[in-house]
Symmetry: C2
Subunit: 432 residues, 2 copies
Amino acid sequence: MKTFGVGILGFGTVGAGVVEGLQRNGKLLASRTGLQLALRRVADLDVETDRGVAVADGVLTRDAAAVVDDPRVDIVVELIGGTTVARALTLRALAAGKPVVTANKALLAEHGAEIFAAAQAGQADLYYEASVAGGIPVIRALREGLIANHIEAIYGILNGTCNYILTEMERRGEPFDVILAEAQAQGYAEANPALDIDGVDTAHKAAILAGLAYGAPVPLAEIGVEGIRDVELADLLDVRALGYRLKLLAIIRHSPVGQEVSVQPALVPSEHMLGKVDGVFNALLVRGDVAGETLYYGRGAGRLPTASAVLSDLADVARNLAFGARQRVPAFVPHTHYGKPRRGKHALARFYLRMNLPDQPGTLAKVAEVMGQHGISLASVRQRETDGQWARILFLTHPAVESAVMAAITELRRDGKIGPQVARYRIADLMA
Amino acid sequence: MKTFGVGILGFGTVGAGVVEGLQRNGKLLASRTGLQLALRRVADLDVETDRGVAVADGVLTRDAAAVVDDPRVDIVVELIGGTTVARALTLRALAAGKPVVTANKALLAEHGAEIFAAAQAGQADLYYEASVAGGIPVIRALREGLIANHIEAIYGILNGTCNYILTEMERRGEPFDVILAEAQAQGYAEANPALDIDGVDTAHKAAILAGLAYGAPVPLAEIGVEGIRDVELADLLDVRALGYRLKLLAIIRHSPVGQEVSVQPALVPSEHMLGKVDGVFNALLVRGDVAGETLYYGRGAGRLPTASAVLSDLADVARNLAFGARQRVPAFVPHTHYGKPRRGKHALARFYLRMNLPDQPGTLAKVAEVMGQHGISLASVRQRETDGQWARILFLTHPAVESAVMAAITELRRDGKIGPQVARYRIADLMA
């Protein structure tokens, strides 16, 4: 049986998971592929801490470059994260013609063009199933399973920390800060949670998915990103009462008004499968013009789920090496069937708007009038409560252009027709 | 750009969908793969009927064997269905070393060993994404995405007709016969619905999935199959009130008591994602020992969704031809990591039992006693109604061996302790 040597860069949570998975299921994997994966080297700055898995003597090293260069290492697994050392080592491997398997979404989102070109130049495979949605094989689904589809839209719940926080806020009726602090204490959120809760992690994943769907790299700066830091419990509960759930969504769409890539809290119908995704789980709804609507659900992070994705890539890469079929599925296929993503808030959507109006006769009519002047038609209005000074009002709009909604809010605030606190959440019309 | 010739056998619904998909998205597919698929021949006994797609002169023929033999046909797409002509033509193609893409679940379930051996002998690819769950790329997910996982369990809603009927019965409160007749009138069910409603179609798909998961062919005779023909509306509604939904499930499990492959109406928790799958949609819940729980959802049948799967296989096969990588992913990988499926009703599960008891004091105690003698412990008892002669009683059991439950029912009936009408539905404990 042909054997391929594996070198792992980064012996953190996922690295240890990959070693555990190889030890546990290496024989099964060999039976299924007819090929053997042999762990040759693991590099990490910390070679002391017990990761709960044993590796043979001489496998662990602090010298990552030596792992890349080791002639017994046929495939490099990059699990360092970040965009400095990881970038240099990935480029080093690809330049040497060594295939790379990576879970590094930031690297691909920020330096994708460079990395993909290096893979092409080195005729080396670059696989990255683990970079999006952990244990759910969504890269394969998009890149191979749905290859014959124009991807009309992707709606993704791609950050388990955010989904956990929103789910728990709603379930327990506690505000954002309380749940975030608990999530940090329990290890569901990082000490510095900004990457997650401000939507950056989701934006990295959205950039990767959009690139696959539309054949052009999407610069992060082109992605409108809103996180969940300002989500108020009252809105979560009001949204629920209206038959929706508020989820942090990656939205990737191609429509007559252009291509859109955005990250934002948005309303999802409670009765839709995507509205049922709770806790740390991830899900992707994909609408293709041939397959129709498909949905993929599972654990988007964690030691073993992410390892499952890395190991599936190792199997694919080993098969390509065995068959002399490097670049059989290129890491990225640029093409021009779609335009570039269109920057700005041009999306046409329905909106949930929550505003405070002075509790005086006639104010509602004035607000509605200004909205009308901006082309925004109201589908429903609900007055939630009043404290004598302010009335809390919820609007659901008919489809409107997002920039027009923002302009109307700006004008209403400026003229004192509404209080400063406003929530503006798009309704994800998943079918359109 | 390399071009590969495609020959389609069978110009029915799916065949026309494949032609439409190729015409609509052929350029996109070529951009993504760097390869061109050219439709050379389409064979069907009926070359007159308008299928809503145009093919060039000389493409349509009544001679299927000539399509297989045509030197301009590099890849054969078998969409005839059935196990006679389709089998002969598939074997003919594979023997000639021509790769085959098929949607034929019956052929694979009933003659898989022969077909897989022929693929191996001919060193020809055999791809069958379209045979299970239509537009959802679940074969890829199992065979490649989850390749590093021991598959602990698969729970599948795999027949859109059955799921549509059960959903509509429940939604509209109408009995089976009424909904079936409507489904037939609307084209959601065949004139002869037996293959669907008796669970045979689901069993074919279960056999294919089980073979992939456990590396051994599963003879259809080993699969316990119960359909939905006898499902009563009252049970559907009672199940719902208990927090479950009744779904026709394929259950494929490996547990300490052995490997199980079965098809049966079973209770799924309403709050689980799998309990939300309504109408003609399909879904697969897969539990792997590394990835954990993943779920795949979408349209399991239909002209275009099935075509999407066929086209994805065509892309894979063309890539393998272009890279000289035939049999890169073998159609079937036999191995011995698991035993054979264990025949019989040995599964340990909770059950929903609905019985009619004589409406007299003390009868419930007698029934409970007999159950206890068979090792069946009752978790809850509900009396639904009584007509003065019979009381309709629902039991939920604690985990019990299915054969013991059946034996208890047989004894209770024989001794006249219960009426002849009994419903016995397993509760799918998706997490265990």
